[in-house]
């Protein structure tokens, strides 16, 4: 069994007196996508910097493809694809030049024209980096990360500054990477990005792991949080509220909303109450909690 793509244990990162990462552990299995989700300042990029070997952890350990990212930096680099949050390219080099330069560093590079096509950058091949828009610069950075056919890519906010179309293209590309066996560790503050792409989500808040799991696990644990029932108007909602232990409102006559963390028993009890009241139930609808609800609940303290 090969080692995990990334294995981080109890990593601490300090900047002066400020603790940016405070004892984070995570594992990226081979061939999977892990999303580090969190607000700005949650410590995502600091953790990524440790994995990329730009700095060592102040405590704890990081192994990347079985190697030490700082001590084995030169051996590790050809196997990694790194996409920085911004910059990293000569402003006066053209997109084509810089991509061909990075391709020339690799033993088995991807075809640069194919990559430019895939990322919608073909028409910018002769455009200097500084004349590209933010989203185009991001796509070029992604191309630079991929051109050497790495085993593992680190993507720091890969779709920041991209328009909807480019974001969709990028998501498809990242899914292609997984399908072809590339491991991916990405940071994002976009919930839909984490939910739709990631096999595993690690929610970071103020330097610590607030929650971890697959997107389905994270939302399933939260369960159903709203039950809407249409029935006869004017029922005694206070009685129902006491029975299921949830907040109940009759928003418009005959439309009841039961809000709270509702398990199956609570839903059964609520519907049983309508039956016991002799009310005619004509519609039932539930809303499952989304990753967004989970995320907001977890990071409520820091968000504001």
């Amino acid at each position: 069994m090969r080692e995990a793509a990334v294995e981080v244990k109890d990593v601490v990162v300090r900047y002066g007196g400020v603790v940016a990462v405070d004892g984070v552990s995570l594992t990226v299995p081979r061939g999977s996508i892990l999303a580090l989700l969190g607000n700005n300042g949650a410590g995502k990029t600091s953790l990524l910097q440790v994995c990329e070997g730009f700095r060592g952890p102040d405590a704890g350990s990081a192994r990347v493809l079985g190697l030490d990212p700082v001590a084995d930096h030169d051996e590790l680099m050809p196997r990694l694809g790194i996409m920085l949050q911004s910059g990293g390219v000569y402003p006066w080099a053209t997109a084509g030049e810089i991509l061909r330069l990075f391709a020339s560093f690799a033993a088995n590079p991807l075809d640069t024209d194919m990559l430019l096509d895939r990322l919608g950058l073909r028409k910018f091949a002769k455009t200097t980096f500084r004349r590209l828009s933010g989203g185009e610069q991001q796509r070029l950075s992604l191309a630079l990360a991929l051109v050497g056919r790495p085993e593992l890519v680190f993507l720091d906010e890969p779709t920041a500054g991209m328009d909807v179309g480019a974001r969709q293209t990028t998501w498809e590309l990242v899914e292609n990477l997984r399908a072809d066996g590339v491991s991916v560790l990405l940071t994002t503050h976009l919930l839909d990005e984490a939910e739709s792409l990631a096999d595993h989500v690690v929610i970071m808040d103020a330097g610590v792991v607030a929650a971890t799991g697959t997107p389905a696990e994270l939302t399933a644990a939260a369960g159903i949080d709203l039950l809407r029932v249409r029935a006869d108007p004017g029922l005694a909602v206070a009685e129902l509220a006491a029975r299921v232990g949830a907040k109940v409102t009759e928003s418009t006559p005959g439309e009841y909303e039961i809000a709270g963390a509702l398990d199956t028993a609570a839903i059964a009890a609520a519907l049983g109450w309508f039956a016991a009241e002799g009310a005619q139930v004509t519609a039932v609808d539930t809303r499952r909690r989304t990753l967004e609800d989970v995320y907001l609940a977890l990071t409520a303290g820091a968000a504001r």
Partner: protein
């Protein structure tokens, strides 16, 4: 689970290090040639000084052999403008733009990037010196070639000293401040370094204060007089090179 023939199927590896370095050196040279102000600084100013001070009586020189005095000085000035001023400005901005960080985290690696930069600077310095020497000869300069190896050796020492200083100030100052400081030092050295006017007579101490003056005088001794390079010039440039490279290694910052 993983398909064997996917577009992105991992096949990592570094190209032969020679290829990696050559491509990076080429990129450094192409980008330098693309920046107009770098070309002017590298060739325009030295040419102007060479022709202006060498062929006219615009400045007072301590000798009647104007070209014999000015051309070696201009060669020394060119080494400084490329290895120190140009290099400091470029490196400062590359650090600011995250280029050093990104290239250091590529198969090129950090030592590879520094090596490529050094070779690119040596190529540039070599090309410029040949071009300026040819202009000097056309203008009437008649160099002595017996001491050429010594002239080349002090030039390599001076280049190393300037490179170390350039990387040092690009690391400790912000890019804008680096540009201002490197340009100011260039202008001060141009004025006080004994290039187009006589340097202030500080004796041997001048060699240690002003590496440009030491280099210029070494080149004048070797190429114009065909004499041995003064010991104080050797010593000064060796000390400058050792100190600046040590400091650069100690304080160099990638981001």
């Amino acid at each position: 689970m993983s398909s064997s023939a996917g577009t992105f199927t991992p096949a990592p590896g570094r190209a032969p290090m020679r290829t990696v370095l050559l491509r990076q050196i080429r990129m450094e040279l192409v980008l330098t040639a693309r920046r107009g102000e770098a070309v002017v600084l590298a060739m325009g100013v030295p040419l102007l000084v060479l022709l202006g001070a060498g062929l006219t009586r615009a400045t007072n020189l301590p000798t009647d052999d104007r070209l014999g005095y000015v051309v070696p000085g201009v060669l020394a000035l060119t080494v400084m403008s490329t290895a120190f001023t140009g290099q400091a400005i470029t490196t400062g901005y590359e650090r600011g733009y995250g280029v050093l960080k990104r290239l250091g985290a590529s198969p090129l690696t950090r030592p590879g990037l520094l090596l490529a930069k050094t070779v690119a600077i040596l190529c540039l310095v070599g090309l410029q010196l040949v071009a300026l020497a040819v202009v000097g000869v056309i203008a009437g300069w008649r160099p002595e070639l017996a001491q050429l190896p010594a002239a080349l050796a002090v030039t390599v020492l001076a280049t190393a000293a300037y490179c170390g200083l350039a990387l040092l100030i690009a690391s400790v100052l912000r890019p804008e401040t680096t540009t201002a400081a490197a340009t100011l030092i260039y202008v001060l050295m141009l004025a006080a370094g004994g290039i187009m006017f006589a340097a202030p007579d500080l004796g041997a101490a001048g060699h240690f204060l002003l590496p440009l003056a030491a280099h210029a005088e070494a080149l004048r001794a070797a190429l114009t007089d065909g004499a041995a390079v003064p010991a104080s010039a050797w010593l000064s440039l060796t000390v400058w090179a050792a100190a600046s490279l040590t400091a650069a290694v100690r304080w160099f910052r990638w981001e």
